[in-house]
């Protein structure tokens, strides 16, 4: 007998008599043939159409496609959060290994990256780098051993690094109740000015990972987390640098046991929350979070009010203290606002995702920003801003980074720094990017449709101004928010079914087209539009905003936009030459037949230009698209302009990506 053989036997017994249905193979083969046929048929039809198009398509229509800046897409049922202006710079590459469970600390003009772990490897990292105006430099060797899941805060003078677990020492599977005792929680201080470390006293509690680590202004607070042996810890400690002493925080009266805890410092009290595991606390009636408050002056805990499941669900909570004293609690499925004064929760506008385990968000002073994260198996590369003053969510501009999870977000006081994490292929990424929300001179504002207007479907910048498209029923409104969100133009769609999907295409000359087409009624799947098989759905049309006329695409033109279904979303490829995409329903992690495209993928979302160097990673183009098709994303559009060289090889000349949820 080997350890856990009983579990193996249990699982084996669970499926011992489970035989595949007799028709399973037939179903798979039938389905597989459909995939193959569609793939080949689409490629052949596109190739033929491209030849015809050279002769028949009027110049000036498709020639402008190359100059497109934006290809937009709006969901048929949900109102999209409008885009907010801002500029990304990057990507930049830090001169250290990509990692997760590291810390990224903004230290008065310097970004300090230290520690962490590498996906798929056992060891931790003890290296770090500092970025400042002079560039990157390696940090002096730390007196702390390599570790991940630690915490770090900036005191105004030094970075305090506390706790964490060395992966190489952790993680042996022990029988419950037989875990060895934990080592003490270590502390060290790093001075980025002198590049010197100092070892400080150990805490009188055992070390831990994923704890709540806060700086109160004069003290370091550490609470909760998981021990080296994965036990949930509910105690903590407070370190006072001026005295060089620790104070133990007794165990909190909290039973929540699901994932990492979260907390804030109110100025006088530590507030913490953990997600409740309904399996362990079945009497909580679905309440998702349990919270408690600790007053260091009295060394006493108090229980916080329960969060009603009617207000928020989900786990992976992140608490952020807002400037007005309230605490924003974001979970994987929603958000809620906590008022410490009244010990009461209030609803928060529903975040623009249905499921997302994101990084710790940042507070800008006016907005809560979050970017990336994982939903299901996909790594998102979009972000959102929450404005508590108006209780609205806005979409951040598209970032020049592939999607990722377990990265860090750092607010510098002026900009958001995204770095590290793991990408769609579970590879550590040492790239990052910086968002400057105010560079455009715009405030982070939510664009609302005017009274009586249709829900906002898409917003984008045009010639420096913000425009928005409202879509609903069988009609489209065009707004100019800078004019007070007046409805400036409106057009009825020729077919109500056409609003099943649509894409806003901004052309190089500053005009735009609303491309629309699809099968099914609004709000109803599927989105299958296959112009190679016109019977599938109505022919795509363009809305010409100058005449407010819908223009039905000719066969020759429409054949050059191939729309297909991609994981429940639409994939549109704008082709200069035919391309045999391996599978329009490509599986994010199984792309293995895509040509190794070289070149630069340039794209622009909401009028903000960005680019990605493919560097021979053609498959990643599709991965970047697929990874973003999260549960929150019901529509996606990918536009690619390819050029074929003399050798018959396709090179990506220009690409356009737009994914909305």
């Amino acid at each position: 007998m080997t350890e856990h053989d009983d579990v193996r036997e249990l699982l084996r017994a669970g499926v011992a008599t489970l035989e595949p249905s007799p028709d399973l193979r037939e179903r798979a083969v039938t389905r597989g043939r459909t995939i193959r046929r569609r793939r080949r048929g689409a490629a052949a039809a596109t190739a033929l159409a491209a030849v015809v198009a050279v002769a028949l398509v009027a110049p000036g229509v498709w020639s402008t496609v190359r100059g497109e800046r934006t290809l937009g897409f709006a969901d048929s049922t949900d109102v999209l959060p409008p885009a907010v202006p801002g500029t990304w710079t990057g990507p930049f590459t830090a001169p250290i290994d990509g990692r997760i469970n590291h810390t990224a600390t903004w230290a008065d003009g310097r970004l300090v990256l230290w520690g962490g772990e590498v996906v798929g490897e056992t060891g931790s990292l003890g290296s770090g780098v500092v970025w400042d105006d002079a560039g990157w430099r390696e940090m002096a060797r730390s007196p702390l051993s390599a570790r991940g899941g630690h915490g770090a805060v900036w005191t105004g003078e030094r970075v305090l690094v506390v706790g964490g677990v060395a992966a190489s020492e952790a993680g042996e599977v022990h029988t419950v109740g037989e875990e060895p005792p934990g080592r003490p929680m270590e502390l060290a201080a790093y001075d980025p000015t002198t590049d010197r470390w100092e070892r400080l006293p150990d805490a009188p509690v055992e070390t831990r990972r994923d704890a709540v680590v806060l700086w109160t202004g004069d003290r370091l607070v550490v609470w909760g987390g998981a021990s080296e042996q994965h036990a949930d810890l509910h105690d903590g400690a407070v370190y006072e640098p001026a005295a060089g002493t620790w104070q133990v925080i007794p165990a909190a009266p909290i039973s929540g046991l699901l994932g990492r805890p979260t907390g804030v410092w109110t100025g006088s009290e530590l507030l913490v929350w953990r997600a409740l595991d309904p399996g362990r606390a079945p009497d909580v009636d679905g309440a998702p979070l349990e919270g408690a408050g600790f007053d260091p002056a009295t060394a006493r805990w108090r229980r916080l009010a329960r969060v009603g499941a009617d207000l928020v669900t989900g786990d992976v909570p992140h608490a952020t203290r807002l400037d007005d004293g309230r605490v924003a609690l974001l979970t994987s499925h929603g958000g809620v606002l906590y008022d410490p004064a009244g010990d009461a929760y209030a609803p928060m506008a529903t975040p623009p995702w249905t499921q997302r385990a994101g990084p710790e968000p940042v507070w800008t002073g006016t907005h809560l920003l979050t970017w990336g994260g994982v939903d299901g198996v996909r790594r998102a590369n979009d972000g959102f801003a929450y404005d508590p003053a108006t209780d609205t969510w806005s979409r951040l501009p598209a970032a020049p980074l592939p999607g990722r999870a377990q990265h860090t977000l750092t607010w510098t006081g002026e900009a958001l720094v995204v770095w590290g994490g793991v990408d769609a292929r579970y590879r550590n990424d040492r790239q990052g990017a910086v968002l400057h929300p105010s560079d455009t001179g715009h405030e982070l504002v939510a664009v609302e449709p005017p009274a009586g207007g249709r829900p906002l479907g898409h917003a984008f910048a045009e010639d420096g101004a913000l425009r928005a498209v409202g879509i609903g029923g069988a009609a489209v409104d065009l707004y100019r928010p800078e004019d007070g969100s007046a409805v400036v133009e409106a057009a009825a769609a020729p077919d109500a079914r056409l609003v099943a999907w649509r894409a806003v295409v901004v052309l190089g000359d500053g005009t735009f087209r609303l491309v629309s087409g699809g099968e099914g009624r609004p709000g109803e799947q599927p989105l299958e539009v296959d112009v190679d098989s016109p019977a599938v759905g109505p022919r795509p049309v363009w809305l010409d905003p100058s005449t407010l006329a819908w223009i039905e695409m000719p066969d020759e033109a429409s054949a050059r936009i191939r729309l297909a279904q991609l994981d429940g979303a639409a994939l549109a490829t704008v082709l200069d030459e035919p391309l045999d995409l391996p599978d329009s329903e490509v599986e994010p992690f199984l792309v293995d037949e895509v040509p190794d495209w070289d070149g630069v993928l340039r794209y622009a979302l909401d009028g903000v230009a960005a680019q990605t160097d493919l560097a021979g990673g053609g498959a990643d183009v599709l991965l970047q698209v697929a990874e973003q098709l999260s549960p929150t994303v019901s529509n996606a559009t990918l536009g690619i302009v390819l050029r074929r060289d003399g050798g018959g090889r396709y090179a990506l000349e220009e690409g356009l990506v737009r994914l909305d949820g």
Binding site: H4, V7, L10, L11, R12, G14, V15, T17, L18, E19, P20, L24, R25, R27, A28, V29, T30, R31, G32, R33, T34, I35, R39, E117, V118, V119, G120, E121, T122, S124, G148, A167, A170, G171, E172, V173, V176, A226, Q229, H230, L258, D277, G279, V374, G376, V377, V422, Y426, Q525, P526, E528, Q565, D567, G568, D583, E585, E587, L590, D592, E593
Partner: protein
């Protein structure tokens, strides 16, 4: 397409794939849908030489399909409609079904990532490094998920004994 070769791969791996999918999702119909889609994708690529390890390919494809439960492809709805209309009738509820339900109920009370870790480690017999890669986490996290999943499973089993061994 080398249908014979595909048939052989199906014969060798379909049962294991259905079992994996079932343990992950606890629903036979959903499990078969996931396996069907995984094999369909494999079939579409069959002969290109791109699939070097069919078993590993299937494992990941099945996991993706199950975890992407939010996806409701047109195909799946069509298939569901077809199945709903067929004459297969209700599944029998014998002891074997009872065993399956029992295990499925146990696993359903374990958080998804912990459950996946247990199934990958103790059913699919992946190494810790392999399971960590599939789950997209460090080996330490995989160990943590496994440890917590085991502890949770033991708790659930103990609770069942306390409650008279009720299934």
């Amino acid at each position: 397409v080398d249908d014979d070769g595909f048939a052989e791969v199906f014969r060798l791996h379909s049962r294991e794939a259905v079992g994996l999918a079932y343990l992950l999702c606890g629903d036979r119909q959903r499990a078969e849908d996931a396996v069907s889609e995984a094999f369909a994708r494999m079939y579409a690529r069959w002969g290109s030489g791109a699939i070097r390890d069919p078993r590993a390919y299937l494992r990941r494809a099945v996991l993706n399909e199950v975890r992407n439960g939010f996806r409701r492809r047109f195909y799946e709805r069509r298939e569901a409609t077809r199945r709903h209309a067929d004459d297969r009738g209700a599944q029998g509820h014998d002891d074997a079904v009872g065993d399956r339900d029992h295990v499925a109920r146990l696993l359903a009370q374990i958080p998804e990532r912990q459950r996946t870790a247990l199934v990958l480690r103790f059913h699919a017999d992946l190494t810790e490094a392999q399971a960590a890669e599939v789950l997209g986490c460090p080996v330490g996290t995989l160990k943590s998920l496994t440890s917590r999943g085991l502890a949770r499973l033991r708790e659930l089993q103990a609770a069942q004994l306390t409650n008279g061994g009720a299934r």
